[in-house]
């Protein structure tokens, strides 16, 4: 989780990812950010977030994204 938060901080350093729950709905992360994020996740966690998982609910908070990474790791 810490590693994920540090990736997120590289994209938007000024956001409190521990508490933020509207990263996509609140327009903090745009589509460019999401793609950068997916690239980083593929590198660091060795999982591919395919397009079918790219829905706001999976990216609205660091926790939701972390849950998705774990789910994908389990699937693999």
């Amino acid at each position: 989780m810490d590693e994920l938060i540090s990736i997120l901080r590289e994209i938007h350093p000024d956001v409190d990812y521990e508490t933020a729950t509207n990263l996509v709905d609140g327009k903090i992360l745009d589509s460019f950010d999401i793609i950068s994020l997916v690239g980083e996740i593929a590198d660091k966690f060795d999982v591919v977030v395919s397009a079918e998982y790219m829905i706001p609910e999976n990216f609205n908070s660091a926790q939701a994204l972390w849950n998705l990474i774990q789910k994908l790791q389990d699937d693999e």
Binding site: I35, G39, D43, S50, M54
Partner: protein, 541 residues
């Protein structure tokens, strides 16, 4: 049957009345019948196209859903066998189950690919055949070849770009397991053909629209009232503003050699106003009609001209198209195997900074190319799309510079700076829209250039603008109409105007306002003798 025709108004009144009179079971079939009657009036031959797209995507969705159900059941069965120890690991172990899951998913992907490819091929053939021939002839001409290919006579079926995209999104969403396939063919046919949004969108998703579309709504005065109010507001924008300014735009772009310099700036501004009033007016009518039937349709605009930059503008203009391209092209492309490989390669060889952006920009380039060509089969639209890409890319690259500037100069809450940003957005977007106006790309660039070489700004005050096919009275109506539209947009920033009216005004007073608006449309709308209430601009896309 144009939205602006008396026949259409009569058709809607009859349909809404029948909808609330008929028994529950007959409501959605009535909408399907109404949608096909509406489409029939656009040309009976076009019915074949919409029927073909409907059948193909319906079958694809059904096959995907069926496979998913069977595969899930078999997967659970294998898991149970493994748990009980009654099956061999080769048959039902974790690895075997994973392989089975992948095989089935790959089967579903193939069905999806075939379904959407056929649907998109139909669109491609009717929309891009002549454009392809035009380009082949251009190449033949460049090589001085004596032969030329004759153009084909293919009429573009009304709304094909919209309903094809809607049907394609349905198949992909079934594949992505966002919802199950619709088993009832006729219900699915209604989703594809729902008449208010058939002409120019919004491009709805099955998951958003289907439930309310098939629910038998009972009559609620308030719902019908609100829908009707929105329809009236839409007609106001279309008939009082868009169609009134249309002759001036046409005069200036039909004979461009006579209208250079400051006139081009006028084309920019007038066309921006016309397009905004036309498209948002059309969407107001669409959403209003659906609302009268109790069916909520997704909003397509969020005051785009108040955006601070182009990327934000595109999140607020034609929203359902933008999200369609993001969800079904940009994301899948960006996270595809080759693109992730490219990202890795470029980070290794070109450095972290460039490497990270290259795949995103490449995917973005493809999306904007596609957005351009979706709007129309011509180089004008392709260059327009790529122009948007260039502007967004430049703005992204300049981000560090903006950050430095904002650290030094505090612009937080500055109305002047915000106005500058909004003004900049309006100017850039309006300049790009010149590609919609002039007949080809070189002419558009040439005309844009004349704004800086032909210094004739005196036309603004010497009465020359009164010779563009619209007179002084038209300008006064346009100015007042635009002020009203702007004021409503300003009020809407803090919530729906109709909600506010409902809270503050009694029923009778609200209807005095809307009756007055209706009177304005009747008296000042550009229709009737001497006018030809024109087709909506987005119909041609």
């Amino acid at each position: 049957m144009l939205f602006t025709s008396y026949e259409f108004i009569g058709f809607v009144i009859l349909l809404v009345a029948l909808y609330y009179v008929l028994p529950k079971k007959a409501k959605w079939p009535l909408l399907l019948l109404g949608s096909y009657v509406f489409y029939f009036f656009a040309g009976w031959k076009f019915l074949f196209y919409i029927a073909a797209v409907t059948i193909i995507t319906y079958v694809a969705g059904l096959l995907i859903s069926k496979n998913k159900k069977i595969a899930d059941a078999r997967f659970a069965e294998l898991k149970a066998l493994d748990k009980s120890g009654s099956g061999s690991p080769e048959e039902c172990g974790k690895e075997a189950r994973k392989r089975y899951k992948e095989e089935q998913k790959s089967k579903r992907r193939r069905i999806m690919t075939v379904g959407i490819t056929i649907a998109l091929l139909i669109l491609a053939v009717v929309k891009y055949t002549n454009f392809t021939i035009y380009n082949i002839n251009g190449i033949l001409s460049a090589f001085h070849a004596p032969k030329r290919i004759n153009f084909l006579t293919i009429a573009l079926p009304m709304g094909i770009s919209f309903y094809t995209f809607q049907a394609v999104s349905y198949v992909i969403d079934v594949y992505r397991d966002r919802h199950e396939a619709q088993k009832n063919f006729f219900k699915y046919a209604l989703f594809v053909s729902f008449f208010p949004q058939l002409v120019q969108g919004p491009i709805s998703r099955y998951g958003d629209l289907s439930k309310e579309l098939f629910t038998p709504h009972t009559f609620h005065g308030r719902t019908v009232e609100r829908g009707l109010q929105r329809v009236i507001w839409g007609y106001f924008k279309k008939l009082v503003i868009a169609d009134r300014i249309l002759p001036a735009v046409n005069t200036m772009i039909d004979t461009p050699e006579n209208f250079k310099g400051a006139y081009v700036f006028m084309v920019m501004m007038f066309y921006a106003l016309e397009l905004y009033a036309d498209f948002t007016g059309g969407i107001d009518i669409t959403i209003g009609i659906a609302e009268m039937l109790g069916i909520p349709v997704k909003e397509n605009f969020e005051r785009p001209f108040f955006s601070k930059n182009i990327a934000e503008y595109w999140r607020r203009w034609h929203i359902t198209m933008g999200t369609w391209f993001t969800d079904y092209i940009f994301y899948p492309l960006s996270v595809s195997g080759p693109m992730l490989k490219l990202g890795k390669w470029s980070r290794k060889h070109l450095g972290e900074k460039v490497g990270k952006r290259l795949p995103v920009y490449l995917a973005s380039f493809i999306v904007w190319f596609t957005t351009g060509i979706w709007h129309g089969a011509s180089w004008n639209f392709i260059v327009w799309g790529l122009g948007n890409f260039v502007v967004i890319m430049i703005s992204q690259e300049l981000e560090p510079l903006y950050s430095k500037f904002h650290k030094r100069v505090n612009t937080d809450g500055s109305t002047v700076y915000k106005s500058f940003q909004i003004g900049r957005t309006i100017l850039i977007m309006s300049a790009l829209r010149l590609f919609d106006c002039y007949r080809d790309v070189p002419l558009t660039f040439k005309m844009f250039g004349t704004m800086f070489t032909t210094w004739n700004w005196k036309i603004v005050g010497n009465g020359a603008l009164l010779h563009l096919g619209i007179g002084r009275a038209d300008y006064i109506i346009l100015a007042l109409g635009t002020i009203l539209m702007f004021t409503v947009s300003m009020i809407a920033r803090s919530g729906s105007v109709r909600d506010k009216m409902e809270k503050k005004l009694p029923f009778a007073a609200r209807w005095v306002v809307f009756t007055f608006l209706l009177l304005i449309i009747v008296v000042f709308g550009a229709y009737g003798l001497g006018y030809d209430a024109s087709q909506f601009i987005y119909n041609q896309f």
